[in-house]
């Protein structure tokens, strides 16, 4: 029934409208990742560009292929596929065969997002689902790290990048160790100046701490992400590793190293903060962040792997519905307890 009198407008919530859309948030996140992406090209050369392109193409093509024709356009233009592919690509080593990066992008979107019902319905961070699949499937390729490219080597593409689908080609250069690998297996620390400037080996996007923080600050200022999540993750990692460091400085990494090494910054600022897979309530966000921080330190120090950010975030993603349930604010006027 349409109201004929235009003076009184009655409509259901939401009554306040914002300019903010999913597409806008995706664009913001991509802008925030731009500096660190460029730094990745600078540090690792053309190979990094190819790996990133492969994972983005894999993600976007999968989104296109499995979307019904009527929502295809809308799904492609919200930019979430591109962002997922970009985030996945930034967590891959530069030596990985391009077909694996492509497959990772496809798994991210297919198993990480579409199978749950699409954008906003997934339980786990799609990019991390893709990465977890790749590291369980191709553990060797996912842990072969190239050293930083030398000036003049920019256009050098690793032979291993160009392996035919389903095949592998031995990595052609000298492999390097990541700071966390050095810490775990040889107990060697890396100076924190190198960690901040990005003068280290590792995944494409986990080199320069400074640029990652810069992009994160941009997202915080745009209010795209909940500040509580990165702050609680970084603080809890610093505190937990600080306690271990205080008990035996020789055996454990110092807190500053723990925060800046490996994928913690990119995970804490860009992946854990995904609004779909993190708790909605402020109290929930703190629990979520502290849980991730604790798991990261536990896996890094006591686990079999040198790095634990990926599994820590995925595990806490799984706990998110539970956290939301227990931290729900009381409905106004109900269940009042006398104080």
């Amino acid at each position: 029934m349409k109201q004929k009198d235009p003076r009184l407008l009655v409509q259901p919530a939401p009554l306040l409208k914002q300019r903010m859309t999913a597409a806008q948030a995706m664009r913001d996140a991509s802008y925030a990742l731009l500096p660190v992406t460029l730094a990745g090209f600078w540090f690792f050369g053309l190979s990094a560009l190819l790996v990133l392109s492969a994972s983005i193409v894999g993600a976007v093509l999968t989104e296109w292929f499995f979307s019904p024709a009527d929502v295809r356009r809308e799904r492609l233009w919200d930019g979430s596929g591109i962002l997922t592919g970009l985030l996945l690509g930034l967590t891959l080593p530069t030596t990985i065969p391009l077909w694996m990066a492509f497959l990772g992008g496809a798994v991210s979107i297919g198993l990480g997002k579409l199978i749950w019902g699409g954008l906003g319905k997934n339980l786990f961070n799609p990019a991390l689902v893709g990465r977890a699949f790749l590291s369980a499937t191709f553990p060797n390729a996912m842990t072969t790290w190239a050293p930083l490219s030398q000036p003049g080597d920019f256009f050098h593409v690793h032979a291993s990048n160009l392996a035919l689908p389903f095949m592998h080609v031995e990595y052609d250069g000298i492999s390097a160790a990541t700071p966390l690998g050095l810490m775990k297996f040889d107990n060697e620390s890396t100076p924190w100046t190198d960690l901040i400037m990005g003068n280290i080996s590792g995944c494409i996007g986990e080199t320069s701490g400074l640029l990652l923080v810069l992009g994160g600050v941009y997202l915080l200022l745009r209010r795209d992400i909940d500040w509580r999540i990165p702050v609680s993750i970084l603080l809890s990692v610093a505190v937990f590793s600080g306690v271990l460091y205080a008990t035996a400085p020789g055996n454990y990494p110092d807190p500053l190293f723990s925060v800046f090494a490996g994928g913690l910054l990119i995970g804490a600022l860009y992946m854990a903060t995904d609004p779909v897979t993190s708790p909605l309530t402020p109290r929930g966000a703190w629990i979520f962040g502290i849980g991730i921080g604790l798991l990261v330190v536990l896996i890094r120090v006591y686990g079999g792997f040198p790095e634990g950010v990926m599994y820590a975030i995925l595990l806490m993603n799984a706990a998110t519905p539970l956290i939301d349930r227990y931290t729900q604010p009381r409905v106004f006027g109900r269940g009042v307890k006398s104080r």
């Binding site: 694996m100 369980a136 499937t137 191709f138 392996a163 095949m167 592998h168």
Partner: protein, 216 residues
Amino acid sequence: MPRTKENAYEEFVKGLWRDNPVFVQVLGMCPMLAVTNSAINAIAMGLATFFVLVGSSLLVSSLRRWIPKQIRISCYIIIIATFVTVTDFTLQALVPKVHKELGAFIPLIVANCMILGRQEAFAAKHSVRLAVIDALGMASGFMFALFTLGAVREILGEGALFGVSLFGADFEPWIIMILPPGGFLTLGLLLLFFSWVKERKQQMIARLAEAEGEAQ
């Protein structure tokens, strides 16, 4: 006579496809996920289950008049467990290598709910002939599902089928496929595929019916 014949055919085919114990009823998941990391293990497990199911159905259905219904489940389990133990020792003696691979999962056939389910739902209520035909169909359907999963996982996980290399030495194995998560992933994708096929078929039938209705 022709009616019962048709009936028997129907009972056999339903286990293969329409009521496939794995892809439709989603029963017997423990062996399904645990031992399908290669085609040969899947076939061995399928054969062991085949023997136990057909043997149990035969016995349960021929003894169905003498088994008091108050203790029927205990009796079925005794019968099934006997067949499983016989299978276990026989495999250990005849094909020790396969037995080593299947390990703890042979005794666990006892707990395969598909087998007990067929006794309770079918063998206890039908003639020996139909019970055996039903068991043959269900067991073949189970073996078909195990083999499909095992083949997919072996091809991707080792680049081989029945141990014969398919892609040469440069193949990069998908290690997750021979690990437990690969079983879950592959099974999930296969279920997805089969329900997609089913849906397509139903849509096509609906469209045909519609077209016929318009023609009239």
